[in-house]
């Protein structure tokens, strides 16, 4: 940890320079409920919200923020995959091909991240946030130009011709496991991998990515559990809040035009990424 961190009398590290508000359970519950609603409206897992909320908003040190975010991702992925099971959209072959590489990388990278200085973690997180902002912006700009997608998914007759480029998919899948070391499920990275490299249709890719996120984040979360960076006072209210928010957001999603919300979120991501990068440069 950098010079800005300190320990409470219980031995838990917190960041003295960042800490603005006491992370009390009711406040975390309320903040994470809002984050859960926004994440569901934007089609995200929530890691991009939870890590900056805890790290920048409440001054929690990065390993604890990442550990909390990982458990939130497992919960939202599990709940989402149960909902998606009704359509049975996920492509199991693509899931295993990517995860067989991503999960070990997630475990290894998380182990390394526990030893890494906070500045490095913040720098990597800032880069990932910048990439996610770029991906969301591209997605929304494409959606503005493209004609509306059919609402009903028609399963292809016979054997589908995906996943393609399986070797490259496995290799790049391994790299997506690095996201878990930063507390993010990796949806903004896994979905483009599935659609653009492996030729999986977007709806199938979204469902498959949801299943994948739960697997790699669970592997990474156990490393944080054993490493002692998981905190009950952060994890419990965040998971409950995110789950409640995701449920409300899921109900609101068909009624809300999330395009302008997505563009506003890109601006927020750029701000958060900039702040993380600034803190990383300060050490």
């Amino acid at each position: 940890m950098g010079v800005a961190s300190r320990r409470t009398s219980g031995g838990i590290a917190e960041d003295a320079t960042l800490r603005a508000v006491e992370p009390s359970p009711p406040l975390l519950l309320a903040c994470c409920t809002v984050c859960g609603v926004l994440a569901a409206l934007l089609g995200l897992g929530g890691g991009l919200f939870v890590v900056p909320l805890l790290s920048l908003g409440f001054g929690v040190d990065m390993p604890a923020a990442i550990a909390t975010s990982l458990v939130c991702c497992v919960a939202t992925s599990g709940a989402g995959s149960v909902a998606l099971d009704k359509a049975r959209l996920a492509d199991l072959r693509a899931v295993i091909l990517v995860e067989v590489a991503a999960s070990p990388v997630a475990v290894f990278a998380t182990g390394l991240a526990l030893l890494a200085p906070q500045a490095l973690l913040r720098g990597c997180f800032a880069a990932l946030v910048g990439f996610a902002a770029y991906r969301i912006l591209v997605r929304e700009l494409r959606a503005m130009k493209a004609p509306a997608e059919p609402t009903q998914w028609e399963e292809p007759e016979g054997e589908p011709d995906w996943p393609k480029n399986q070797g490259l998919g496995v290799f790049l899948g391994g790299l997506t496991g690095l996201c878990s070391a930063l507390g993010i499920g990796g949806g903004p990275v896994k979905v483009p991998l599935l659609t653009e490299v492996m030729g999986v249709p977007i709806r199938v890719a979204l469902a498959s990515s949801n299943v994948m996120v739960g697997i790699s984040t669970a592997c990474a979360a156990t490393v944080h559990y054993a490493g002692g960076s998981l905190r009950a006072d952060l994890t419990a209210p965040c998971v409950v809040g995110m789950a409640a928010g995701a449920y409300v957001g899921g109900r609101l999603a068909p009624k809300v035009n999330a395009r302008w919300l997505a563009l506003a979120f890109v601006a927020v991501l750029v701000y958060m990424g900039g702040k993380m990068a600034w803190l990383a440069l300060q050490g």
Binding site: G10, G11, E14, A75, V82, I96, S103, A221, T222, A232
Partner: protein
């Protein structure tokens, strides 16, 4: 195969639902300040005493069963579809997750950052 898929969905749903109950209870009984999680071996006693750290730990452990159930279901489906190599891939990921969870059982204590706080909840940082 449809039965296996249905069982998987039930397993994942049950795991997520039960973990949310544990987390909600943990929030309800949470003391002021930082609280760490506890090792799986200490969960039972802590849950009976309604300790926030133990309830959250139980929530995390139960939640980890969701991807495990999903992977077992995926493996069974892939084997039934005649894709044994992919089923082996699913089995390998299950083994990795079980190894990571099993490692927790072998630990004598968690590193100080969490363990100290789980036994002595603190007031806000000075």
């Amino acid at each position: 195969m449809a039965r296996a898929a249905r069982l998987t969905t039930w397993g994942v749903g049950l795991s997520v639902g039960l973990s949310l109950v544990c987390f909600a209870l943990s929030v309800a009984v949470a003391p002021e300040g930082a609280v760490g999680v506890v090792l799986p071996g200490d969960v039972a006693g802590g849950v009976l005493a309604l300790e926030s750290g133990a309830l959250a730990s139980l929530g995390v452990i139960v939640l980890m069963l969701a991807p495990l159930a999903r992977l077992v279901g995926v493996g069974v489906e892939l084997k039934a579809e005649g894709r044994p190599r992919l089923a082996v891939g699913a089995a390998l990921i299950v083994a990795l997750l079980l190894f990571s969870l099993g490692r927790l059982l072998l630990l004598d204590e968690l590193p100080p950052s969490a363990a100290a706080a789980s036994t002595a909840p603190v007031e806000s940082a000075r």
